[in-house]
Symmetry: D2
């Protein structure tokens, strides 16, 4: 295969570093990488295929700091897609890419299927967002465990449910909560060594709605997990849902705070907020629009309402305090049969649902504007900040010489109105132009389910 | 295709009519039908392929008056086999045939899939037991309805559960319980006319364990259903589970009593028993072995224990009174993942489970012996009695000239020991020799399920 | 005690027979009975205590054809009032009387407590409405049975729950559904002979929301129950909730139709409606106001909404067809802790709740007006019709010589506006003036519960 | 009242300090206190009433380090005894005393009722064991909370359930899990200052069977609670159920380890065991007999079986390592209606149930022997060790001059056979002879409940 050479010309280039956009700029690409970015005076090689971006906006490919590419975790989903988990993951990765996410970070899922799809995408066999994956959230169980949908176990054979959960847990499941620090160290070392996750996520607090106030691991254990991650060169983050679990995560040395804004019954304590800001800890905060919050106030259970009011207040304080924020959606594909599914969270029908994969990231950007985040900061939250937080900024996150050519061309200026992120004209990933209309190539969840 | 000609020679022929067996008898077959049965002096055409039955026993193919060829009705089964219900039905029909059941009567199932398999078998496209089917039990709901496993609706999308139930209900479901006699007449007429069931079954009483004391239809409505069935030339039977529902079924004019022995909290009243015997009403009674009853006494819930003790007492009284009994198992395929499935009836692990398709009929015959039914009567219960009760005795049920050639050759004498029904040497159905070793051709439920 | 002599003078007397009211009429009372009713020319004995009704309206005491004086049947109520059921019943009978109901018919309750209170009231030991009682609804279970609140059995000792249920069932409970007609006859005869109910009520259909389509007793059994009631000189009524159970009740010969308007998923069939009207069968129909129906449409579950829309439609058709209707509320005392009680029917907070004892009968009268029942017919529905239907019209139901002196004096004309039934000036029962302000004398349920 | 003077003479005196028993010893008492203990040569004042203990054994009154005097926490109990919680507590305190427990430590209960009974007993108004009480387990909820029997909330009005829970929580409930260390400090300080508990207990781990692996409070918060307890002169203990929560409790500085042997899915880590032994931390371990363990192996759910096998293994290791152990039962009165109560733990019918108040302490002593604890150490575990651990050994725990006269006279030698603790001849508490036959004075839970 000959080396591709592309030149995006004539567009306003916003490189993701926060500086002034380059009017009528040029981005030169060879193969999968950017070889130059500059003003209209930049020389375009003759052999380069020219892509006109006149009147348009050229930005780095968007990133999402938290997705779940396999989220068909109700019993029917788990059974219906038996043997086809890879297809389900692929569909999600294609929905993501189609909507401008060139890179996503999967923070909990069935590792073998995720890995298989990740490799196929990396090898250009399949089209889809670039995937980084954590595998399990260390200390949590799989889909049918008490941490997620234990109702499944009222209708599935126990051995089958066990086998399903193991696809997620991979030896780093809830049994770790009974262990001493050194026993956990051994398990995490083994997990890192054999499953080779791209980053680590552990449960600092419980996951289910009724367990969010509990601490999963002592401070000693949390430090052990972070140490083992760092020793293997991995970033480490935690699932936290309460003020103390958030504080413990920070004390343990986490690199990235995943939904620090979920503190549910109490706000982020002022002291903790100060440390977050002062230490410039990246905050993957679950921004949501006013419209979503209004829906919650009107329709949600007391628990969810309270959680979201606190979250929103935390988000506002994080923005005001100047915290480093990352676009994060905690999203999954919403299947066609969700509307009347009894195990769907009550929120599935909500207006502006943030956790709908393929659209949630646009809603996040909308919410960021509503919360007062500056347009350029929002753009960086969706690009460079994530790349840096996950320590993949050598290759990703900005339009700079030497980086991978993950690029969006937008019809309208995203700095003027966050809704303009939706005006995708073209997506380039790894230096290749993506045919959005073909995605997803084989829809499973996103078409109507039929008996 | 040239016409097949077979001669089974040298075996003891028990023709199903109750007379003395023919030693060293001969059964001549041309095409799908028996053309002659007689002693060793009978002339065997030269072109006939001879099958030696020397030292063996030749009997009519066995029949089961009540099976459910599709019984994967837990939510995981319903979802796992989406789009493959026909394969599931075929597997069951093959398990049946492999074990000597040349004809089965399916009394509740997904009609379209059952019909499709029935046709393929009738057309010699697929191998399997001959199927007669009722479709729905008129007045009951589908698998996820309160009549069966409503727990399914806690984990399945409502619209999907509705669609599944409709596959069973076919317009003759629980909504009929709200109707007047004439409204029910119209519905049944439509059901008979458009779904073309082979026989009718209706719910005289409720189905779930908590509803067995209730009457589903008034006497007037029951008469209407029987009238409509008879007008269309169909036999009619009812689901009954209590003394009064049994009496009402008889009053309504049912042709065949399906599990009249299930009267749960009270025995069959003496007067009802007398009418059953005097009118020679065919009783498809759920005989079970002592071993099964012992298991129930030791392990079952109070409800099940009580039900089975009453049932067994009824069975003994029916046999003693000389009632016409039919082999019936109410059986389905027990899937490989049943052992630890929370929705399996508690009885699934029972010793001598009568409702295990493929084996239950042997257990029925064993139980018949234990209950004191004479060996020849037991054989007729499994053959001629069923054919007559279902009014298909023009073609089926005995080894007689003109009947379809459904024949078993057994290694040992079934009149000596009911266990000898298991000693199947050869099965001939429709005049064809069946390759038992190839069945089931594509096992689904009967192999281990894996994620 | 000397014989009391009262004269109510100067009021408009509406005697309950449907004729023109007597302006400035006089009602003379001696002891517990009315000795004369007539125009102002009637001679008032000198010794009579005169009660001025000038400008007011004198009507027969109101009656309710269906109440439950003990309705604290949630587990906490059953336990909290252990040993005090009589006090609970007395409170209800006093709330009734205070609001103008001089006679109530209790159709399901704990017989011993009801009987004890009935006797105390009859003996003038306690003040309260006159009570007639059925005891159990033959064929139904007690409060913790599947017919009512089986959830209780998840939190109560089994033996205690059993003992509670027996207080209601009294040997005529759900076990009758397993019996033959003659067995039921024996049980009912025993129940009538030993428990001495004032009238009989039996379950023609199931009671819980999920069982309303089922028939409890065959036609034969229903006839047996009616025969036994009639043989003992008792009126008989049935609980029906579907078109067929209503028809069967009528066929069985019931004297009074209790909530024939509850047919839930289907309207009363036209033929049945005709028979009801033609045979002048008394219909204790659960009229409810537009406001209640609106609340149901807005707030209720699909099941309840459907039930009430059908009910209301039936009510309108009954009125239009000229059926004989009776005031009936199926009411109980709503305890002070109902607002946030998880076992309260969803309807407890409804506007214009018809089943609130003490107020529901006023709402019924309001609804009767909205449904187009003529004012005088409504008054008779609440008085004479009930007395006749229950065959106690020798003593009750009208203001006539020889009848018991159960009388209301209203400030405003009830024929002008049904709201005027609330304008109670004075209540006389058994010839005694009731001190309404003292009732209930010892409130239990109607004051706030405290730990 | 004149000062009582008693002399127990002639018995073998075992003073609880571990030294050789005094044969034919004398214990002199004046008022509520022991004034001398010595050999037969000790001079007995003339005015002293002599109690002969010839051939008998004189030991300190027994103590239980963990009881729940109010344990009628099923919904029916909570409601049935509304307004009578003090009577329930008194019955338990009398059952305890009757069986030789002169002092008990109540570690979770309704504080106001417990306090009221404690005061009445202290003031000699009522008879019963001496009570020390913690009130709530800081961080846990009341009886109807998820920590205990949330099923109650399916049948009780929410406001009533809330009010019940507050009786236990007293401002130190589950809301503390959402707080920062300083917020918890403020709450605990307030709790100590206003509720004046006798000692503190907090939840280091979750309570319900499904939450035992979770940590309730961070290390910082645990230290704060211990600091506040110590600042107020109170001993502090924690509820722990896992290896890490046990370690955290020790690190936090707890004075007494409550059930350190409950580590459920994993044994006490060796390092933790060493620290416990080396620091002589008092271990209130839930010893149980072989018979109980056998019952558990045969009948219990997987969860309970596992918990008890681990517990027993821990107990054996604690004894072998020479840990300081305390008699503890975590017991409550088992009501008469327990046998068929659906909310009774599955263990209620177990052989040798350790948690049956009034008998459990005898079983503990039996188990101590089986586990190899030396007889004298077992006696001290039930007396002096507890007094020291709770820092009440100035007054309690041994037979020594100046201590309160809490004394048992046994017929047989407890050092020969632990069953001999049951041979209670006489109980003296506070210098008074207890009439055991009169206890409990007004049985509520311990007689049969009737409707």
């Amino acid at each position: 295969m000959t080396r591709r050479s592309l030149a995006i010309v004539g567009g306003t280039v916003i490189d993701g570093n926060g500086g002034a956009p380059i009017p009528e700029g040029i981005v030169l690409i060879e193969g999968s990488r950017i070889v130059d970015v500059g003003p209209s005076t930049l020389k375009v090689p003759a052999e380069a295929k020219q892509i006109s971006a006149i009147g348009k906006y050229v930005i780095p490919g968007l990133m999402d700091a938290n997705v779940h590419l396999f989220f068909a975790i109700t019993p029917d989903g788990l059974i219906r897609y038996e043997g086809r988990y890879e297809d389900v993951v692929a569909e999600a990765a294609q929905l993501s890419l189609k909507n401008g996410l060139t890179t996503v970070f999967d923070t909990w899922g069935p590792m073998r299927a995720l890995r298989a799809v990740q490799r196929r995408i990396d090898n250009d066999e399949w089209v889809g967002s670039r995937i980084f994956l954590a595998g399990n959230i260390i200390g949590l169980g799989g889909p049918t465990s008490p941490d997620f949908l234990p109702q499944a176990r009222t209708v599935l054979a126990r051995s089958e449910a066990d086998a399903i959960d193991l696809e997620w847990e991979q030896g780093a499941g809830p049994e770790l909560l009974w262990m001493t620090p050194e026993q956990v160290r051994s398990r995490v070392r083994d997990y890192v060594g054999t499953r080779k996750p791209d980053f680590l996520k552990y449960a600092a607090s419980g996951h289910s709605g009724a367990h969010m106030q509990y601490i999963c691991f002592s401070a000693e254990v949390q430090r052990v997990i972070v140490e083992e991650g760092h020793a293997a060169g991995l970033t480490v983050q935690a699932h936290t849902t309460s003020p103390e679990s958030l504080r413990m995560e920070i004390d343990a040395g986490a690199d990235l705070l995943q939904h620090p804004d979920i503190t549910f019954k109490a706000p982020i304590p002022e002291g903790t907020l100060r440390r977050i800001v002062d230490r410039r800890l990246p905050c993957a905060a679950l921004f949501a629009t006013r419209r979503y919050l209004d829906w919650m106030r009107a329709h949600a259970s007391q628990l969810l309402k309270e959680l979201h009011i606190t979250r929103d207040d935390n988000d506002r304080r994080l923005v005001e305090a100047g915290a480093v924020v990352l676009l994060t959606t905690d999203s999954g594909v919403i299947p066609a049969n969700s509307a009347d599914h009894p195990l769907n969270g009550e929120f599935v029908g909500a207006d502006d649902l943030p956790s709908e994969l393929g659209d949630g990231h646009f809603r996040w950007l909308q919410a960021a504007g509503e919360l007062g985040l500056k347009p350029m900061d929002a753009l960086m939250a969706a690009t460079r900040n994530i790349a840096r937080a996950y320590k993949v900024d050598r290759d990703l996150g900005t339009l700079e010489k030497g980086k991978l050519a993950d690029i969006l061309i937008l019809d309208r200026n995203p700095l003027e109105d966050p809704a303009n992120y939706r005006s995708i004209h073209q997506i380039i990933k790894d230096g290749r132009q993506i045919d959005r209309s073909a995605l997803p190539t084989a829809p499973l969840l996103t078409r109507s389910a039929a008996v």
